[in-house]
């Protein structure tokens, strides 16, 4: 079966580009199926990090000497390529620590200045805690109401319920994920944004799971805020991205204050730097941004349409093989076309933690947890799930290893 899939036109085999995949633990190769948590890094990203520190290390936005100008050019050049990758202006593309900080930037800077009692923030039951807790705090701070769109049977949102909620006329902000980190559901974000805008609501989208695996065109999606994180998109940890509408950013107060984000500092007040630097206080994560630039170059060279086709084919293959097993329950939409490269599942009679432990012994790396989505776990009626997720470097043989390891786990538990 795996040979058939490897020979398909969509198949990629880029394992050789990822040094860590050459590792063996206890004589077994690494079967890395946890890319939704964090992706592995290609050699070109590691080289970019090393090259910056080895050859170009200087602080940015300050120095007039040639070395500092090199660092500046590398950093701002990466910003330009990262922004272009998702079709958004570089001047309204802000670097944060991660997507959590990107969402918090909006929840503090925009929400606290713009939400009032009588307003509502609408989120969904499939959000990661990073797109729930900031809105709980913002609602508490402003007196706004926090409401949820439900997740239906097939792991999808209802556009009818969306319209009903928007029709109440009080939704100031809709915040939702582009791709669910648990169910894999790809939400129709362009259509959702269109409906929200017609109702006068702004929209924030958590693109942490989307940017690494889909062709994302932010002009087509037309969201007001779109956040994602570098380390899930083959880049280093420590850098996230917030793309936002420039006119909103201009009117928003700063989030974090300090160096680099100011124009002038008087004794009692200051004025703010231009975009995007108004929202980038302190020395930036220079190496990480340069590393993320290299990651985006790598994905761009593969072509996101090809990455998506490859991961969709792997997902379809995994869904087919899991469906053939006894005692396995798969969560989320039934077809690979409606979902990203992530599959949450439960094994009858084996707790997800034990699944994770037993699969780990075969070097099959899956996540076993609530995936920072406890409200969704309650909807699914479970405390946790096991989750396998794909990156461009996975191959059909990884799915075969997963299936074999599940069979062995069931044998250990005498099921």
């Amino acid at each position: 079966m795996s040979e058939v899939k490897l020979a398909s036109p969509a198949a990629l085999d880029v394992r050789a580009d990822f040094p860590i995949l050459a590792r063996e633990i206890d004589g077994r190769r690494l079967v890395y199926l946890d890319s939704s948590s964090t992706s592995q890094k290609p050699a070109s990203v590691l080289a970019a990090l090393d090259d910056y520190y080895r050859n170009h290390n200087a602080n940015i936005h300050r120095g007039v000497y040639p070395l500092a100008q090199e660092a500046d050019a590398l950093f701002e050049g990466a910003r330009a390529r990262i922004a272009a990758f998702v079709n958004w202006p570089a001047a309204s593309t802000i670097f944060t620590r991660n997507v959590t900080e990107a969402i918090n930037l909006v929840a503090y800077s925009w929400a606290r200045a713009n939400l009032h009692p009588g307003d509502a923030v609408l989120i969904t039951q499939m959000e990661h805690h990073s797109n729930i807790v900031p809105w709980q705090l913002a609602a508490q701070a402003t007196g706004a109401e926090l409401r949820y769109l439900e997740v239906g049977e097939g792991g999808t949102l209802s556009l009818e319920q969306l319209d009903r909620e928007l029709g109440r006329g009080d939704v100031a902000l809709l915040a939702l994920t582009h791709v669910s980190n648990v169910l894999g559901t790809i939400n129709p974000v362009a259509e959702i944004v269109r409906r929200a805008h017609n109702a006068g609501a702004l929209v924030l989208i958590d693109g942490a799971q989307a940017v690494p695996q889909l062709e994302v065109d932010l002009q087509a999606i037309d969201a007001d805020f779109y956040g994602w994180t570098g380390h899930k998109a083959l880049g280093p940890t420590g850098v996230g991205v917030l793309h936002a509408r420039a006119e909103l950013l201009e009117r928003m107060p700063p989030f974090l204050a300090g160096g680099d984000m100011i124009a002038t500092v008087e004794a009692q007040h200051s004025t703010w730097n231009e975009l995007p630097w108004k929202f980038e206080a302190g020395t930036s994560m220079i190496a990480q941004v340069i590393g993320l630039g290299a990651a985006i170059d790598y994905l761009d060279a593969l072509g996101m349409a090809r990455v998506r086709a490859h991961e969709q084919a792997l997902t379809a293959y995994a869904l087919e093989r899991l469906a053939a097993l006894e005692g396995v329950r798969v969560f989320g939409p039934p077809g690979a076309a409606q979902r990203g490269g992530v599959i949450s599942f439960a094994l009858d009679g084996i707790h997800p933690h034990d699944v994770g432990e037993l699969l780990g012994r075969r070097n099959v790396c899956v996540r076993a947890s609530h995936h920072c989505a406890q409200p969704l776990m309650r909807v699914l009626g479970v405390a946790a799930t096991a989750r396998a997720s794909f990156g461009p470097y996975n191959v059909a043989a990884d799915v075969d290893a997963l299936i074999d390891a599940i069979g062995e786990a069931q044998e250990v538990f005498e099921l």
């Binding site: 034990d354 947890s369 946790a384 250990v412």
Partner: protein, 129 residues
């Protein structure tokens, strides 16, 4: 034979002892393992300074469920003062398997909730006692 999922662990996991509800009880507590969302509650009846009866409720992995089941058999009849002084070593010895650092909280959750119910101290059992 698997080193961790020994036959007696799986036996206790599949048929846990002293699980259910204890309507007449003197102490109770409820704990959540934040790592995995597992939950474990306990109700304890005390008579003459000893645990007269005890029931666990909840759900969790094989290690946490087997640990609760095995502990329950030892705890019933034990003096309350003695239980309050039990440490991590008691539980791990009772389990009799090598528990990795990441699964240590699974093994200790039941002792934590029992001590919480009896003494109000909800901290994780330490190695000291």
């Amino acid at each position: 034979m698997d080193d961790l999922y020994r036959d007696f662990i799986l036996e206790h996991y599949k048929r846990p002892r002293n699980f259910g509800e204890l309507d007449e009880h003197d102490h109770e507590a409820h704990e959540v393992n934040p790592l995995c969302g597992d939950e474990l509650g306990v109700q304890i009846a005390v008579a003459d300074g000893r645990i007269a009866d005890l029931r666990f409720q909840g759900h969790g992995c094989a290690i946490s469920q087997a640990a609760a089941s095995m502990a329950s058999e030892q705890l019933i009849g034990m003096e309350v003062d003695e239980v309050a002084g039990l440490g991590a070593g008691w539980m791990l010895d009772l389990l009799g398997i090598d528990v990795s650092a990441t699964r240590r909280k699974c093994a200790l959750l039941s002792l934590k909730v029992v001590r919480h119910a009896l003494t109000g101290d909800g901290s994780w059992p330490s190695d000291a006692a």
